[in-house]
């Protein structure tokens, strides 16, 4: 990957009405990469994007673009374009005029405008839509117009603020692939904001996981999934069983009342740690053959696999298995050394990873009010 740093954020902090949204954030964005800011509502990802776009000024810290400090540069002078969350297509203009908007402002000759808009419509698969009113388009089509409108200006960087959030599931998957293709054909740097971990993992070169206004982890999707740095990342990306453990010595860890062999080292002797085990890495075996033994308290059929909640001495594990087990059954759990991931203790320790009150609905109920709070705060 090209390692030229295109955008550098240096010690950025931002607060609204005394509430800190970004806390001393550092970030480097490289040329031609697809970077995703991922995190729950209110983590500061949208604010970061708006600072890069020029719609917000950081309270402290500096924004550099190609090595030049651009804190006070207004949005209309930046070589950056944005695809807005609800697209923000101009309702008084048709598809062609929406896409041509940026070129016209820059006084591009009309012949050139026509060619470029045509090209863009081809790129986003909207040939023949020139004269359509934007209000008559479907969500997916509006989305494409918004992307074309931004890309036609040949920005150095394209900022995308939860662009797929308003689309239904099927369309969202298609657009993920299409966006990735567009990014690769145009070679433009994409900075993508989402709260959807699956979206982030499947599209990005680099994922930046954020929480509470701070970056938790930066890495490739594989790194983030396999080597989460703390309980927050482990829980936010995929499902995780997170247990309190003690590192006996290198490659030996004790948790759930047992000693396990693992592949991690470099911790202090008897250091308290968080242990992550992914649900799909636990094997269901006969009770006497397992390293741990527990009672099944819940089974849900998920299509590809069963989701099994197992009570092991009061701690509820989640296990994904293709074999059916009955509720109430006692089973054994077997874990391979390379399925055990050890993390240092963090401010998030003990907050996640127990499935005792797990429910999809609870998850959603928890999230809704938060989202509202973020909207009003970031308006």
């Amino acid at each position: 990957m090209n390692k030229d740093v295109l955008i550098r954020l240096n010690g950025i902090s931002k607060s609204y009405d005394g509430e800190t949204v970004l806390d001393n954030m550092d970030l480097e964005i490289h040329d031609k990469e697809f970077i995703t800011l991922l995190g729950p509502s209110g983590c500061g990802k949208t604010t970061t994007l708006r600072i890069i776009g020029g719609f917000e000024t950081p309270d402290t810290g500096d924004v550099f673009f190609n090595g030049e400090r651009i804190n006070d540069m207004p949005p209309y002078q930046r070589q950056v374009n944005t695809v807005f969350q609800r697209y923000a297509l101009f309702p008084h203009l048709n598809v062609f005029d929406n896409i041509a908007f940026g070129l016209r402002v820059r006084k591009t000759p009309s012949e050139e405008i026509r060619t470029k808009v045509k090209e863009m419509l081809a790129l986003v698969n909207l040939r023949g839509f020139e004269k359509r009113k934007v209000t008559t388009l479907s969500g997916g089509q509006q989305q494409r117009v918004a992307i074309a409108r931004a890309l036609v200006n040949q920005p150095k960087v394209l900022l995308l603020d939860e662009p797929l959030a308003a689309l239904d599931l099927k369309l969202r998957k298609d657009m993920q692939v299409e966006l990735k293709n567009i990014q690769q054909t145009t070679g433009i740097t994409f900075v993508f904001v989402t709260h959807d971990q699956e979206e982030a993992l499947s599209m990005s070169d680099t994922v930046v996981v954020m929480a509470n206004g701070r970056i938790q982890q930066i890495g490739t999707p594989t790194d983030i999934y396999n080597e989460p740095v703390n309980a927050f990342v482990a829980d936010f990306i995929g499902e995780s069983n997170i247990l309190d453990g003690v590192m006996r010595k290198d490659f030996a860890v004790r948790f759930a009342g047992h000693d396990f062999v693992c592949v991690d080292g470099g911790f202090g002797e008897n250091e308290a740690v968080d242990v992550v085990i992914r649900p799909e890495d636990v094997d269901v075996v006969a009770p006497e053959k397992g390293m741990l033994k527990g009672d099944v308290t819940g089974v849900t059929f998920k299509g590809v696999h069963y989701e099994i909640i197992v009570d092991v001495e009061g701690f509820k594990w989640m296990i994904q298995s293709t074999d059916y087990v009955a509720e109430g059954q006692t089973i054994g759990l077997s874990i391979d050394p390379d399925a055990i991931h050890i993390m240092k203790k963090s401010e998030f320790s003990g907050m996640f990873g127990d499935y005792s009150s797990f429910s999809d609905e609870f998850d959603k109920l928890d999230k809704l009010p938060e989202e509202d709070a973020e909207e009003s705060e970031e308006e």
Binding site: P74, N81, A88, F90, P91
Partner: protein, 272 residues
């Protein structure tokens, strides 16, 4: 139940229209009488059109309505923009309330207060009272202002802030953003505000009564002057003309309105 309601509506509207219909009828009376219709005649209309004062008043009314509705629209759009963009909520609310004063106050108080302003300023700078066309324009613009704000502000409020940000993002300065994106968006509100202002300005008598001078008289002031003493049949003719003019405008507005509605319905049907 249906019949009761139909009878009730007919009765009330008949009572509401009785005086107007009577005036229209007798405006075509050859004789100067409200009791005996002695034959159809347009003589009262002829008398009206020979009256230079009436024609001047009509011209003045139109000039005043055009100028004051235009200036009220420009000011009102600026005002709505300022109110919408004011960050502190209480400041915005205060601005809105103050602008609404001419709409909430009885016309007579607005008229009196404007007159006292002009008289007071004249006294302070030791000049002759300067009531006339300029004070009329100022007064009409002022009482039209809240109506423009009332129809423009909701457009600003409902507008997605990211539309303006998108324009900035695509290279517009804030100035260009206003003219290329924000103004087109609120335009329907501004136009309906302007139409309301135009109509209010044509119609206004009370405020004009206090801030005018005899050398710039509008149509309502002319009617007032003509009706101070005795009944004049040429005034019945004028009343008839005004009623028909208003009716024509209302029908045009209504027909274009339903025309637009039916066109929209047809479009919706086509898409299905």
């Amino acid at each position: 139940m249906k019949n009761v309601s139909r009878i009730y509506m007919t009765l009330i509207f008949l009572l509401l229209y009785a005086p107007i219909l009577v005036v229209i009828f007798f405006s075509f009376n050859e004789a100067e009488s409200l009791s005996h219709f002695e034959g159809f005649s347009l003589s009262w209309y002829a008398e009206l059109f020979e009256d230079d004062e009436a024609l001047t008043a009509l011209r003045n009314s139109l000039i005043l309505a055009v100028v004051s509705s235009l200036s009220a629209t420009v000011l009102g759009v600026i005002a709505a923009f300022a109110i919408d963009r004011t960050k502190r909520k209480w400041v915005a609310r205060a601005m809105e309330s103050v602008s609404n004063i001419p709409m909430m106050n009885p016309d007579i108080v607005t008229g009196v207060s404007m007159m006292l302003l002009f008289v007071g300023i004249a006294a302070i700078i030791h000049s002759q009272p300067f009531l006339g066309v300029w004070t009329m324009i100022v007064a009409h613009t002022t009482f039209n202002l809240p109506y423009v704000i009332l129809s423009v502000l909701p457009k600003f409020r409902e507008m997605d802030r990211s539309l303006s940000e998108a324009a900035l993002d695509l290279g517009c300065t804030p100035f260009k953003t206003f003219f290329r994106v924000e103004l087109p968006y609120i335009l329907p509100g501004a136009i309906s505000g302007m139409m309301i202002s135009f109509a209010l300005s044509l119609d206004d008598f009370v405020i004009s009564h206090f801030v005018s001078s005899p050398d710039f008289r509008t149509l309502p002031l002319y009617i007032y002057n003509q009706t101070v003493h005795d009944v004049k049949f040429s005034m019945y003719a004028l009343c008839t003309l005004i009623v028909f003019a208003v009716l024509a405008v209302l029908i045009v507005v209504n027909v274009t309105g339903s025309f637009r509605a039916s066109r929209q319905r047809r479009k919706a049907g086509q898409r299905q």
